[in-house]
Amino acid sequence: MLKQRRNTERQIALFLLGGVMLVPPVLVLFNHPDRVAGIPSLYLYIFLVWTGLIGFTLAITRRMRLDELAARENRQADVEPLAPASVDGHADA
Amino acid sequence: MNSPAKILIVDDEPNILLSLKFLMTKAGYSVRTAKDGEEALAEVAREKPDLMLLDVMMPKIDGFTVCQRVKSMADCVDVRIVMLTARGRDVEREKGLSLGADDYITKPFSTKDTLERVAGLLAQSKAEPSSESAAT
């Protein structure tokens, strides 16, 4: 339960971070026509932050799944078999 | 011995009054009687007795009240008061004594005992004035 809440908190934090970074006024900081590595700074910035957000989301969901698996193993000792393991579980394994 | 001690007997039962009067007179005291509280206070005011035999349950003014009033009269502090009661409860005894009564006799009483107590109290009060003045 505690871990679940932790993951929820992480998601909210990431959401707020993304919300702040991809919206003015933070966005304005990169709003100039110079190019960085050949790409306009604003474009580069947005795509980098975007990729970062997706990466962190992936990390969080992976962690959620690990926590769940651990919890399930703990539970399995005294509880009847649960629904078949999630498909994403197989896919990732 | 000078003049005999003056005793005032107060009771609303005429027969009890009669028997006490006979006993006290026989013992040589000067006896007056009253048949209720009002009369008793009037008698005290008329002439201060040395000792009162005072019944508790009386019409108009009860014995306790009489006792209290007598004791609160300036010159009657040294009047000895013996309460008579037919109720015979400790509470009443306590109440009587706290109001300044000197003794407490329960009806029906022994005549001999009553006479002894009266004599004892009167002897005590005769000795006391000197000791009291010595104390003060």
Partner: protein, 931 residues
């Protein structure tokens, strides 16, 4: 160089669509066989990518060519939403599964107490708001088709005067899409079942459009140019293009923010998105993968938008080619017919995916939340009576699909030409954005009411109509153009694009701001001032606390409740008779007899739930059943709220109220009794003291005089005589007293032996009076006068006791009568079936306050008077006891100073109640009365 004739393009298109049919068909078959293809998080994530329509495929490049990064918020918004998808989207999925939600209209209606009005309003908004979006897809297909068939020359459609051709294309596409949607979208009646084939086809289309776009992007970036830097470097050289590197002006920033918000909502509230994200979701765990996979898809499909846009701008500097077509025309310009064809197919897949999904979502919505409820309300249709509504339902759905697509076609052929692709799409976005406040408030704020949701939706939709729809009519010439430019009747404050003076924003941002301001304000404001119905409240709790409720869909309870318990629960709400009927119905429906003992199976549970839902609403029913199933009630708040409202409870609380009133009364009574007991206790004490006093007094005299006589043998004879007689008198007094006390005690205890006989009272009275003659003889003055009626009816009495009463009263009268001229009068007569006797004296009388007291023990009036009269103080209490035993009564009337009248009466024998036989019990009562 191969030509791209119409026939080639059409053949390829049909091949593609045929492939879609095949995929859908195959997947449906697989699903029927129980081997689902779409039970897979990747398919789920790809199906969500139906979000990327031809608007993305062609339109993003178009928007990028005019605003630079301005197209990106449309994809950043969903990315943000998906980061918190596990909380928000999963909650919506959870709720929807629990309630068998079939559409977004259903969701909102269900949240606000299954409100028909809300469901209908949402459906109507969707049906009005979505067709522009569909028209956009049609337009994209027809335009791209028209351009592609011009290959190798690049001719913009309007240049060849091909309007009719365009419309024809649109028309055929419409028909094709409609047939596809009808075939795969309306196979099942149960809309909450999954359209597996559809979803698989959509997912496939997502792959196609991504591959197509990436192919074009890679070709442009690395084939035509030398990578990203090259394109951007060349663009930098042109000031016009360099301007696109940045967001320009306040309006650009405001637009960025509003588009982000708009798209954050759109990813869930667009009807087709709700369909794929929520309704078609098979396993909420799939969402976990989609949370990053779908944003990744969005990122990938957008990477090459800017390079392609700049490439197009660089390659067609004269502006002859519309940026919306760059994806297609760049490939054509470079003589790449296959790539162009691929781009066309990509656009086609983006468009068809959207059209099909949107049509199905709208069809479900319209049939379930608008048309069916209306039909069911029309009693004359007798819809409720029909056993099978399947046909009607399917007809409605199919009709709706045709209608919606036709509306889209109409919009495209009449209005569509006046807008760029993206703008048309955004008009729809703003329309469906109106659903967002009702949904978000619905799942996070229990206080949001139906009235609030209705007001918010209606207000927001009205403003959308005013700020976006009407101006688009104006631009198309349906309304006067001055309406859009100068406001109605020239009122500048009401200009649709600058409402209340909000100038300088693009129409979409402007409309987003105003609709949201009104929508949210109305929703919150009205909610705060309206109340919820019971059903609404229970649904609100149900929705908001979705995660707190037990997760099982019915599997967890198995074996934990007996069928018996469930039926008795049902009986509580339906009553015994209706429960019997329900039982019969169950057995008929399931074709088996119900075993009442033993665990309930899922059939019983769901049947009982349904029956209950019909009475108390679905949510309440669920909770009631859950309580019997001993499912953990995690939220007490929920239960209390439900119970709070349940009408049953109102009855209970009323009963409780009256019970507590009774209890109060009982408490007061008890307190009274307690006080009375304490009084009695005190009375007992007083009584003992009084008895003690009364006995000791004569005893004192006896003892004193005895001792005097003993100790004084010399007393004179006369005195001795007097003393002895006193002793004798006092002894008599004592024994009289003891007799009286014993007498009264026995009477009160009920142990007195009564000797009743029916007798003429006259001789008894006369004898009693004769017995009192001694009293008069002793008294000097008192005289007796008797007035006794000639004839008295016989009474049922104990003679001795009767005599005792008269002697007591007469001796009292003698005692208290005038000392000098004493007169005692005894009267006896008959009245109203009673014998009445009055004993009258001419003494001082008895004060009013003492008149009742004197009948109590030892309460002689004399006690407070000057002279103490003789007597035990028990005579009158004894008289009262005796007369009560006779069934009569005794009382006194007196005026102070005018003597007293003691009266008593006893009933005449014929009428005498037979109370005497069970005297003891009455006597017991009498004890209480006496004390």
């Amino acid at each position: 160089m191969p030509m791209l004739s119409s026939s080639v393009i059409i053949s390829v298109s049909f091949l593609y669509i045929g492939l879609l049919f095949a995929i859908a068909y195959y997947c449906d078959k697989r699903a029927d066989a129980g081997r689902s293809v779409i039970a897979n998080p990747y398919v789920y994530a790809l199906s969500i990518a139906v979000y990327c329509t031809s608007w993305t495929f062609f339109g993003s490049v178009g928007r990028a060519a005019t605003t630079g990064v301005g197209f990106l918020p449309i994809y950043i918004g969903p990315t943000l939403t998906f980061i918190i998808g596990w909380m928000v989207i999963r909650k919506i999925i959870r709720i929807s599964k629990a309630n068998r939600i079939t559409s977004i209209a259903d969701f909102i209606a269900s949240r606000y107490g299954n409100s028909f009005a809300l469901g209908a309003l949402v459906s109507i908004i969707a049906v009005i708001g979505i067709p522009p979006y569909i028209s956009l897809q049609l337009k994209a297909i027809s335009t791209s088709f028209s351009i592609l068939q011009g290959y190798p020359s690049i001719i913009m459609p309007q240049d060849v005067n091909g309007t009719s051709l365009l419309h024809d294309t649109e028309f055929y596409v419409t028909l094709l899409m409609a047939s596809f949607a009808i075939v795969f979208g309306t196979r099942h009646i149960d809309a909450s079942e999954h359209h597996e084939g559809m979803v698989a086809a959509i997912a496939f289309e997502s792959v196609v459009k991504l591959v197509a776009f990436l192919s074009v992007g890679l070709f442009v970036t690395f084939g035509l140019f030398n990578g990203f830097s090259d394109i951007f470097a060349r663009a930098e050289a042109s000031p016009d293009l360099k301007r696109l590197f940045t967001i320009n002006g306040i309006s650009g920033h405001v637009s960025w923010i509003t588009l982000t918000i708009l798209s954050m909502a759109a990813i869930v509230v667009l009807p087709r998105q709700f369909q794929v994200v929520v309704v078609e979701n098979i396993d909420e765990r799939h969402l976990k993968k989609a949370m990053w996979l779908f944003p990744l898809y969005l990122l990938l499909i957008n990477i090459f938008v800017l390079p392609v846009a700049f490439a197009g701008l660089l390659m067609f500097p004269d502006g002859s080619v519309k940026p919306d077509t760059f994806v297609l025309t760049i490939a054509m310009k470079d003589q790449q017919p296959l790539l162009a064809l691929l781009a066309f197919i990509g656009g086609l897949s983006a468009a068809t995916g959207m059209i099909i999904m949107e049509a199905i979502a709208l069809a479900t919505m319209v049939s379930n939340d608008l048309v069916m409820p209306l039909l069911l309300r029309m009693d004359w249709l007798r819809m409720r009576m029909r056993d099978d509504l399947t046909g009607i339902l399917l007809a409605i759905r199919r009709g709706t699909i045709l209608l919606v697509l036709f509306l889209g076609y109409l919009y495209a052929s009449t209005l569509g030409t006046s807008y760029a692709l993206v703008t048309i799409g955004l008009v729809s976005f703003v329309a469906v954005l109106q659903f967002a406040p009702a949904i978000i408030a619905g799942i996070y704020w229990k206080g949001a009411t139906k009235a609030g949701a209705l007001a918010g939706l209606a207000g927001g939709f009205a403003l959308w109509t005013y700020t976006l729809l009407l101006p688009s009519f104006a631009r198309s010439g349906w309304l006067s153009a001055s309406f859009a430019d100068h406001g109605p009747y020239g009122l500048a404050l009401l200009k649709p694009y600058a409402l209340f003076g909000l100038e300088g924003l693009d129409p979409i941002s402007h409309a987003t701001i105003w609709t949201m301001v009104f929508n949210v304000a109305l929703l919150a404001g009205v909610s705060l001032f309206t109340s919820q119905s019971m059903l609404e409240r229970s649904q609100a709790v149900h929705f908001v606390d979705a995660f707190k409720q037990s997760q099982g869909n019915g599997g967890e309870w198995r074996g934990r409740a007996s069928a018996d318990e469930l039926w008795s629960l049902l009986a509580r709400f339906l009553g015994a008779a209706r429960t019997e009927t329900a039982l019969a119905r169950f057995e008929k429906e399931y074709g088996r007899t119900l075993v009442l003992h033993g665990p309930a199976d899922s059939d019983v549970v769901s049947f009982v739930k349904r029956q209950l839902a019909g009475v108390i609403g679905a949510a309440s029913a669920r909770i009631m059943v859950a309580s019997v199933l001993r499912e953990e009630m995690q939220d007490l708040d929920e239960v209390t709220r439900i119970l709070d409202e349940a009408s049953q409870l109102v009855v209970y609380s009323r009963r409780l109220e009256s019970k507590s009133r009774e209890l109060e009364a009982a408490t007061a009574e008890l307190q009274g009794a307690n006080v009375r007991l304490r009084e009695l206790d005190k009375l007992k004490d007083d009584f003992m003291a009084t008895v003690s006093h009364e006995i000791r007094t004569p005893l004192t005299s006896i003892r004193s005089f005895s001792e005097i006589l003993r100790d004084n043998p010399d007393i004179e004879l006369e005195e001795r005589q007097e003393f002895i007689s006193i002793i004798v008198l006092e002894s008599e007094r004592l024994s009289r007293l003891i007799n009286d006390i014993l007498d009264l005690a026995k009477m009160e205890a009920g142990t007195t032996q009564w000797v009743f006989e029916v007798t003429d009272p006259k001789p008894v009275i006369e004898q009693a009076l004769a017995a009192t003659s001694g009293l008069f003889a002793k008294s000097a003055s008192a005289k007796l006068r008797t007035v006794i009626a000639e004839k008295l009816e016989p009474v049922r009495i104990d003679r001795d006791r009767f005599t005792q009463v008269i002697v007591n009263l007469v001796s009292n009268a003698v005692k208290f009568c005038d000392r000098d001229h004493g007169l005692v009068t005894v009267k006896a007569w008959q009245e109203d079936g009673l014998i009445r006797v009055d004993v009258i004296d001419n003494g001082q009388g008895i004060a009013a306050q003492d008149q009742e007291k004197i009948f109590e023990r030892f309460q002689q009036a004399g006690n407070t008077l000057t002279d103490k009269p003789q007597g035990t103080g028990l005579g009158l209490p004894i008289c009262r006891q005796i007369l009560q035993e006779f069934g009569g009564e005794v009382w006194v009337t007196s005026e102070a100073g005018k003597g007293a009248v003691f009266s008593f009466r006893v009933p005449i024998a014929a009428d005498a109640p037979a109370t005497a036989e069970h005297g003891p019990s009455l006597a017991q009562d009498a004890v209480l009365d006496a004390i």
